[in-house]
Subunit: 305 residues, 2 copies
């Protein structure tokens, strides 16, 4: 309670309305009425009125034009609503993922996935599946390729997703997407100012921030360079690798799935490379002969395109 606390940069949570308020705002935008929005989210009209008002106070911006025949977003409100939609979508993905982690047993569809896929792609697929088949309970187990294969072969999972180069024996597969590994550095790194692409030899000769051996990402890189990748540090999660690269510890090689956000915000920059193929296939896998049916087939069809 000291005075000094007043000077701290208050956390996001104090500056950003909570999810209930953001959902309410989206409902107001869609329905054009505070009362109707209140009904939709299951609160009373005065509660909605007060919530929107306190959100406007918090943001310091008028969001809705109230009139005796409804409420419309102001220009600023429309913009805020669009940004709010992205927060709510991220929360929906979080929810879809968390449900799948919880619904361990007795699920109609048990999925095993590699970390990168579980992290970046699966929540979206689960949302899409939920939109089409709201009552399909899905459970998720995450692990490396070997673990995914083991679960499938033991009958403890119905459908798997892997990102390595090889398909584990005993499994059939189909390619559902392609991924590309890219070389990234912090913007301050000398490589960021190169005018010519990096050569494979240069890449192989430079110590890199890498995932541990055995990860799908590392496998692909080692294969592309002929088993030569030199680690500067080895870290056990993609997130740790990214954080290290952003902080300028050195160059790294990461899936473009993992670094989209960082590239967009220029926390990392992509370095062109020539003479080496860093593409890899993302595959759905299942025990040989047991073509996916039912919910598994449904999910699979959502992932292809």
């Amino acid at each position: 309670m000291s005075e000094a606390e007043g000077l701290r940069t208050e956390s996001l949570a104090h500056r950003v309305p909570d999810l209930a308020a953001l959902e309410l705002l989206l409902a107001v935008a869609r329905l054009g009425s505070l009362g109707a929005a209140a009904r939709e989210v299951g609160i009373t009209q005065p509660a909605a009125s007060s919530r929107i008002r306190s959100m406007e106070r918090q943001l310091g911006v008028a969001l809705v034009d109230r009139s005796p025949r409804g409420s419309r977003l102001t220009d600023a409100g429309a913009l805020v609503t669009d940004w709010a939609r992205r927060v709510v979508e991220a929360a929906a993905a979080f929810d879809a993922g968390a449900r799948a982690l919880r619904d361990r047993r007795d699920s109609r569809l048990r999925v095993a996935a590699s970390m990168t896929i579980a992290e970046y792609l699966l929540p979206g697929w689960l949302l899409a599946l939920h939109a089409e088949r709201p009552d399909t309970a899905v459970s998720l187990l995450a692990g490396n390729s070997a673990k995914v294969a083991e679960l499938l072969l033991a009958g403890e999972a119905d459908l798997g997703f892997v990102e390595g180069l090889t398909v584990p024996t005993g499994l059939d597969s189909t390619v559902i997407a392609r991924d590309r590994l890219i070389v990234v550095t912090a913007p301050a790194h000398p490589w960021a100012r190169r005018r010519r692409p990096l050569t494979a030899a240069e890449l192989a000769a430079t110590p890199l921030i890498l995932r541990e051996r055995g990860s799908g990402t590392r496998q692909v890189l080692d294969a592309a360079l002929g088993g030569l990748a030199r680690p500067l540090i080895e870290l056990s999660s993609t997130t740790a690798v990214k954080a290290s690269a952003v902080s300028g510890a050195g160059p790294s090689v990461l899936s473009e799935l993992a670094v989209g956000e960082e590239l967009g915000m220029r926390r990392l920059v992509s370095i062109p490379v020539e003479g080496v193929s860093l593409r890899r296939d993302l595959r759905a896998v299942w025990p040989t002969g047991h073509r996916p049916t039912g919910p598994a087939r449904e999910l699979l069809s959502l992932t292809r395109g």
Copy 2:
């Protein structure tokens, strides 16, 4: 209070921990200790302990392994944390945008931007700027190209961003990115099953869901088709157009910036087109002769790559 209410699908806000809890989880992941994380976010250790515990109850998943010498994430916890990070990042973008809307006057940098750029790109740039120059207050005014030009020429904005085909007279500009308009439909639309690309003539002959005339998107499309785009409906926001297209009302033409999420989740599919260039430049603009300096130059350098 009827019993039936217990059966309603509870809203996201009831199933997703609030932002403060998610930030706390990220701090625990980074620091490896509940107490240290508590200090970082400015609460006491028991509060952090209880918050994490109730989050675990809410999600039905154990997130951290507690030990007398620290706390580490479980496997499921690591996954949840990665999903949480995306929610927090979306919230940070929301916050950056909202601050810019609020800080109207007396800002060191006044930005005017077209809707699409304000909606999809600017929050990320503002976050990056804030990371490098935490004390730069930025204000944002959104409008169409004409409005942006007007603000710049009246000296009410320091830097503008537009997405149209032409640069308004009296302004200098530089291309900061390229955008592409793509033809999209709901997955059920016949076009989604075509094997050959759409021709320009087919596109011009088909009524489309479009933004109103005068929007940057519409300008580009009209120019590419020779002024011929036929509207099925005209809507005044990108969001409304997307919603209409997702619902299957018909094909639409939208910026790839706007539909990334929808394509990823297969709520929309992209239809290849031949014989027509739907690329457009995104430009930073400023009054002729007044090259951006100071914060404006800083922001500009973040947007280029």
